[in-house]
C-alpha cells in the first residue's frame, strides 16, 4: 500500500477518524494505531509482521534488562554484554535477510579463485520491506537506554508502536525513541499549525513523487540507465541530473508525507531533508540529506569508533569507515560500497584541506556548490547502475556525440524545477502553513482538493514504489 494511492487514502481516513474518536483513551488509541500499522505492513507480506513483532519484543526485553540492571547496580553496572547482545541480534536479523545472499555469493567466488569450488547453500530470501529502518530504530533504542539518553519504554506496546508506526515504518525517517516515546506517553493534541503543516507537506510530497519523480523515472532515467550504450552524451547527462532530481523528489516526498501523516495523527517527526543540493561541501551535504540516517551513523557508528577525538588521521579513517558502511546499509552490492567510499573519500579530502587551510575560504560558495553537486551526481551513477559495468558505460557515454532522443522540453523543465526548489526559502512550507492556518476550513479544504486534483490529473498510470523501499 503506497502513500500516493486511493487505497492508502481510504485507509488513512479510516485511521484518522478512528484514532481521534479514541483520543481520550491513549492506551486504546495506541493499540488501534499498532493494529493499523500491522495491517499496513501486511499489505506487502503478512508473514513479516511476525518479524516486526519479534524484533520489537527483543529490543523491549533487552532494554528492560539493561534498565533493571542500572536500577539495581547503579549507573556503573556492567551491561556492555547486554547492549552487545541487543545490537548483535538486530544486526543478525538485518544481515540474514539483507546480506546473506551477497556474502555467500562473494564467499563462493573467493573459494573458486583458490580452486575450492563449493555449492554453498544459496537461499531465495525475500527482503522484508523497511527492515533496515526498523532494525536501526531498534539498535538506537537499546543503545540510548544503555547510555541513559532515554528511559526505557513504560510498556511493550510503546516499543511495538515505536518500531511499527506506519508513517515511518517502510522508508523512515528513522525516528529515535527519545523523540517518539514521550509523545506516546500522553494523549496527542492536534493544533491548526500541525494540521496545516501536515496537509501542505502531504500535497507537496504527492507533487514531488507522482509528478516530478515518476515522470523523470519513466521517461528518462530508467530507459537511459537500462542501456547507456544506445544514448548520446546529452541524454546520459540529462539522465544523471534527472536521477539526482528523481531520487531527491522520491525520497524527500516520502519523508514529507510521513511527517505530514504523523502530524495529522498528532505526532511530530524530525525533518529529514534540508535542501541538500545547496550544500557547498560533502560534509554539509550529509547534514542536509537523509538527516535521520546521517545523524544515526554519527551517533551509533562514527562516535563509538572514536569520532574526531583521536586526531586527524583517526577521524579520517573513522569517517571513511562510517560512509562505506553507510553505503552497505543501502544495499548488498559493490556499487553501494563504492558509492559510500566515494562519499567517505571526499570527506577525508575535505578534512585534510581544513587541517591545512583552517577556516579560510578557499573557493567561492557557488563553485563549492557546483563541485559538490557534481561529485554527488557521480555517486548517483554508482548508486543507480545495476552493475559496475553499466556505471562505467554511463561514464564512457558522457563523451559520445549523437542525437538527443530522450530529453524533451518538459523533462528539462522538471530537472531545472527540481533543482530550483533548493533555492526556495528554507522554510517555505512552514511559512505557507503559518499563513494558511487562519483560513476557514472550506478554503483550505478546496485548496487541498485542487492540489490533489492537479497531481491526479497529470500522474502516470500506477505509481512506482519509492526508491528507498528496497533498502
Amino acid at each position: 500500500m503506497l502513500f500516493p494511492t486511493l487505497a492508502f487514502g481510504v485507509f488513512f481516513l479510516f485511521v484518522y477518524f478512528t484514532t481521534w474518536s479514541l483520543d481520550r483513551e491513549n492506551g486504546r488509541r495506541k493499540l488501534f494505531l499498532l493494529l493499523a500499522s500491522w495491517f499496513f505492513y501486511a499489505q506487502w507480506d503478512w508473514r513479516f509482521v511476525g518479524l516486526l513483532i519479534l524484533s520489537a519484543v527483543l529490543n523491549w526485553a533487552i532494554a528492560a534488562l539493561i534498565a533493571r540492571k542500572m536500577e539495581r547496580e547503579g549507573a556503573d553496572a556492567k551491561r556492555g554484554w547486554l547492549v552487545g547482545l541487543g545490537v548483535a541480534a538486530n544486526l543478525l536479523i538485518l544481515g540474514f535477510f539483507k546480506y546473506y545472499g551477497f556474502f555467500v555469493e562473494q564467499a563462493g567466488d573467493l573459494l573458486a579463485q583458490f580452486g575450492w569450488e563449493r555449492d554453498l547453500p544459496l537461499l531465495q530470501i525475500v527482503l522484508p520491506v523497511g527492515i533496515s529502518f526498523f532494525t536501526f530504530q531498534g539498535i538506537s533504542y537499546v543503545v540510548d537506554v544503555h547510555r541513559g539518553k532515554t528511559p526505557p519504554a513504560k510498556s511493550l506496546l510503546d516499543v511495538m508502536l515505536l518500531m511499527s508506526f506506519f508513517p515511518h515504518l517502510v522508508a523512515g525517517p528513522i525516528v529515535r525513541a527519545s523523540d517518539l516515546l514521550p509523545q506516546f506517553e500522553r494523549a496527542p493534541r492536534l493544533t491548526r499549525e500541525m494540521a496545516t503543516h501536515g496537509l501542505l507537506l502531504i500535497c507537496w510530497g504527492l507533487f514531488k513523487k507522482t509528478v516530478i519523480a515518476s515522470e523523470l523515472s519513466v521517461s528518462l532515467v530508467d530507459p537511459v540507465f537500462f542501456d547507456p550504450s544506445a544514448h548520446s552524451a546529452v541524454d546520459i547527462a540529462a539522465a544523471v541530473y534527472g536521477y539526482a532530481v528523481q531520487i531527491y523528489c522520491d525520497f524527500s516526498a516520502y519523508s514529507d508525507m510521513a511527517i505530514g501523516i504523523a502530524a495529522l495523527l498528532g505526532y511530530s517527526f524530525p525533518r529529514n531533508f534540508d535542501q541538500p543540493y545547496r550544500a557547498s561541501s560533502m560534509q554539509s551535504f550529509w547534514r542536509r540529506w537523509h538527516i535521520s540516517l546521517s545523524s544515526w551513523l554519527r551517533d551509533y557508528l562514527y562516535v563509538p569508533l572514536g569520532g574526531g577525538r583521536k586526531g586527524l588521521f583517526a577521524s579520517c579513517v573513522n569517517v571513511f569507515i562510517t560512509m562505506v558502511l553507510g553505503g552497505l546499509w543501502h544495499g548488498a552490492a559493490w556499487t553501494f560500497l563504492a558509492w559510500g567510499a566515494l562519499h567517505g573519500g571526499v570527506q577525508v579530502v575535505e578534512r585534510l584541506g581544513r587541517s591545512v587551510f583552517g577556516d579560510r575560504k578557499v573557493m567561492p560558495t557557488v563553485l563549492g556548490v557546483l563541485i559538490t553537486f557534481h561529485i554527488v551526481c557521480l555517486g548517483w551513477i554508482l548508486f543507480r547502475a545495476e552493475t559496475f559495468g553499466l556505471a562505467m558505460e554511463m561514464l564512457a557515454g558522457l563523451g559520445r556525440i549523437g542525437p538527443v532522443t530522450m530529453l524533451t522540453p518538459l523533462l528539462l523543465v522538471l530537472i531545472i524545477g527540481g533543482l530550483a526548489m533548493h533555492w526556495l526559502p528554507p522554510r517555505a512550507v512552514e511559512g505557507a502553513a503559518e499563513r494558511l492556518k487562519t483560513a476557514p476550513s472550506i478554503t483550505l479544504g478546496i485548496l487541498v482538493g485542487i492540489a490533489i486534483l492537479l497531481v491526479e490529473a497529470v500522474r502516470p498510470e500506477g505509481v512506482a514504489p519509492f526508491i528507498y523501499f528496497q533498502f
Binding site: 486511493l6 492536534l190 494540521a195 538527443v404 524533451t408 518538459l410 476550513s441 487541498v448 482538493g449 486534483l453
Partner: protein, 176 residues
C-alpha cells in the same frame, strides 16, 4: 461641646481631625473635556511641546446596532480552555479533510473507477466500478470532469512537445 481652636497655643486652627482635601465632587471633572496633553519630550529638552507629535485621537468604536442586538440575544461564551481549543482545531481539520474529500469526489470522480480497473475481479471492485461509472457519467453531464480533462490535455501537450529537430511524439489515443 468644646472649642479646639485655642488648644494649639499658637493662635491657629488645628486641622488634623478634619479632611485635608475636599470631598470628591459627584459631577464629572471639567478638565475631561479638554484635549489630551502632548506626550513629554525626552530627547529635545528645548523643543516646544506644540511641535511634537500628539497622541492619536481616541477612536470611538461604533457598534452596529444589529451586532449589539445579536450580542444581547446570544452573549458570547467565556474563552475556551486548552481542551476546547484542541477540540476546535480537531474539528477544523476534520472539516478540511471532508471538504477536500467531497471536492475530489466531484472533480476527480474517475479515480475510484480507475482504481477498480486495476483490481482483480471481485465483489468489491465490481461494485465500485458500477457505482463509479454511474457517478462519473452523471457528473460528466454537469461538466465536472472538465477541469481534470483540461489539466490532463495540457500535461500531455507538454509531454509531447519536442525540441527542434527531434522526432515528433507518437500520436496518443484516449488520454484517460
Amino acid at each position: 461641646m468644646t472649642d479646639d481652636r485655642d488648644k494649639t497655643g499658637q493662635g491657629g486652627f488645628r486641622l488634623d481631625p478634619f479632611p485635608t482635601q475636599g470631598a470628591e465632587s459627584p459631577f464629572p471633572p471639567l478638565y475631561e473635556s479638554l484635549p489630551p496633553r502632548d506626550p513629554p519630550s525626552d530627547w529635545i529638552q528645548s523643543a516646544d511641546a506644540h511641535d511634537l507629535p500628539t497622541a492619536p485621537e481616541p477612536v470611538v468604536e461604533r457598534v452596529n446596532p444589529l451586532v449589539s442586538l445579536g450580542r444581547f440575544a446570544f452573549p458570547p461564551g467565556p474563552p475556551i480552555d486548552d481542551e476546547g481549543v484542541a477540540a476546535r482545531d480537531q474539528r477544523w481539520t476534520t472539516q478540511t479533510l471532508v471538504i477536500a474529500g467531497l471536492f475530489l469526489l466531484v472533480f476527480n470522480a474517475v479515480s475510484p473507477l480507475n482504481w477498480s480497473h486495476q483490481q482483480a475481479p471481485g465483489w468489491v471492485s465490481e461494485t465500485v466500478e458500477k457505482v463509479s461509472e454511474a457517478w462519473v457519467g452523471q457528473l460528466a453531464l454537469l461538466g465536472a470532469d472538465m477541469p481534470r480533462h483540461g489539466l490532463r490535455e495540457a500535461w500531455f501537450g507538454a509531454k509531447d512537445a519536442r525540441f527542434p529537430g527531434q522526432t515528433p511524439a507518437p500520436e496518443r489515443g484516449d488520454i484517460e
